[in-house]
Symmetry: C2
Subunit: 216 residues, 2 copies
Amino acid sequence: MPAILTVDAVLLTLLDSELHVALHKRETEPCKGHWALPGGYVHEDEDSSAKDAAARVLLEKTAIKSPYLEEFGTFSGPLRDPRGWSLTVVYFALVAEPMASNLVELFPVNKLPALCFDHHKIVDSVVERVRNKAGYSSLPVHLVAKEFTISELHAAYESVLGERLGMSSFRRRLDGMGILEEVPGATRLLGRNRPAQLYRVALRYRNKLSLRDRVL
Amino acid sequence: MPAILTVDAVLLTLLDSELHVALHKRETEPCKGHWALPGGYVHEDEDSSAKDAAARVLLEKTAIKSPYLEEFGTFSGPLRDPRGWSLTVVYFALVAEPMASNLVELFPVNKLPALCFDHHKIVDSVVERVRNKAGYSSLPVHLVAKEFTISELHAAYESVLGERLGMSSFRRRLDGMGILEEVPGATRLLGRNRPAQLYRVALRYRNKLSLRDRVL
DNA sequence: TCAATAGTGTCTATAAGACACTATGCC
DNA sequence: GGCATAGTGTCTTATAGACACTATTGA
């Protein structure tokens, strides 16, 4: 009997300044009716890679299309799935909007319900990695909308890192990197205060952010 | 037909201050007689995880036991192996000694021979990651012997990073981290000069070095 | 005018780099 | 003593953090 090969996706987003993960109720055995990560088998006839499979599974099970998707690693062994020796390739996705999908429900990453298989451990490991990586990369950019204010980005960093960041050094570093550009003329007004300049990721970095680590 | 599941190991070491990778000549089809990474199938009856499988394969094909082993990621798709849709979990290992094994041969990582499958791409990706990670972690410690001089460690960092590092700030950072300890009384003498103090990784960090990233 | 958040300027503490200086062995 | 590498001290420069200051809106 060959090993079972699956992919799982850890979809993360910020809700009320707190990291949340998207979970769904499994509709098939094993573990039917319980919370689990969106995941599934690789389809050899349609998936040209494991990452493709993860993107497809995410679309099918959460109706979220092409977010930021990065491989985390694998989990494997004879005991983690009752069907036998299994290996899952875990991907994590970061999205800006608390998406309106009735296929999944969002849970704060430190208040998870009981999860199937080793999915609790998987979520914990991914969150640890994301927090860690936020400290030396521009990862949290993917947690804000396409156009955002410095304050919003600053808040996203603080939420993910779980610590306060000085605002002036934060701006200084952003400036020095040249990774952001102003959206000309666009501002956002929230209260009765000075409106904030909107920014976006500069075109030349649009699809390279995950590569350029250690930028912030 | 189910997907083919394999593990491959990228074993790296320093030889003449240059990163080398261990390759072997495949003895079975496909790609028989050509250079490839040590790799093989997961054995469901004896491997309790993919990492276990990688360690076993490394021992069988290179006679190297329990080096530093870290998961790099996966490579997958319908075309990379002529036998069909395949996924390989790639691990990299770092060892100190240019080991005496007639099972493998060492090649400089930027002068590789023709390699089977997508192994050339795999080696390149791993080397890039290792170079990158050396910039913010203590990874290169695994490329020197258990007891080493500061100069040797300094040279290892310079080799992996491909750039010169100031010696005094290098020492300062090592001191500040408290990750190393002197081997009492032990020194190494190479020429007609002052002998160098030998150091080793402090006990409390012995098995945690890969976890404590961003230390150097 | 005030309240509230956006954004800037500047002072200070810390860390990095450069490099001169001392230390200790063999010849 | 001379030479070669090990190791230290110190000066300078770049960067991070703190925080006070100015800017711009609605009420």
